[in-house]
Point group: none
Chain length 145, copies 2
Amino acid sequence: MNNKPAVEIYSDGACSGNPGPGGWAAVILINGKRTELSGGEQQTTNNRMEILAALNALRALKQPSQVTFYTDSSYLLNGATAWLPEWKQRNWKRKKGKLANIDLWQELDRALSEHEVKWVWVRGHAGNALNEYVDQLARAAIPHY
Amino acid sequence: MNNKPAVEIYSDGACSGNPGPGGWAAVILINGKRTELSGGEQQTTNNRMEILAALNALRALKQPSQVTFYTDSSYLLNGATAWLPEWKQRNWKRKKGKLANIDLWQELDRALSEHEVKWVWVRGHAGNALNEYVDQLARAAIPHY
RNA sequence: CGACACCAUUUUAU
DNA sequence: ATAAAATGGTGTCG
């Protein structure tokens, strides 16, 4: 048994130009209740927005939860599951070159440690309704002017 | 001052099916005089037709000229201005995958070197009279059945 | 080399 | 208004 509430999260990032203006969004489902969040930045990258989407979604949780996290980004998924532990062991270094987006990865690492997260990869633009929905939300959150 | 004649060229390609039967066309303006050319192929792609339109237009010039070249194809424009120099430096390789339409790009490169070309991008179907006209010419040049 | 994502333009189809 | 092909780019990792 588990006393932590079960949560589903769908998140996505978008970036017009890459690098360029970007947006992120997440849908959080807690036993029937649905919450949406989104935001944007003037100058960023697609991958930063993917991490930020996940980070903000996890931060929105009020208590330690059992999360099923859906993303189409293998960068986010592999980073959070496979690469993060290795980077930490190596003092936040990657094998070759400079580790990008350390700031966000470190904050995500902390956020992840407060929950029990099971990651699920979904192929982008392949018919998953909520994945397509957060994709739209993220695009809509790109700053215009 | 410049002794080369000033020339304006509008070109466009069209393709019925992509890949499929395609057509290309160009309008050349030399101080009031107007020349039109067009042609088609049974099996080609939209982008091959865009390059071919430019190539045939430049080849129609009788002497080294100062050309203002109008196109609605960012593929053609980026290729001719930004990508071509990099491809040449890398021995006609692109960064990832196989470089498409090398044959035409190499011929276009040679043709471009004989003139002084200033590229102008025009948004397709946005009211530019000559752009819309070459568009029609190109469609009309598509071989039927 | 591979993978996923993000994007730009054109060309089409319904 | 939908969706897909033809082409190119960067962002990131192993």
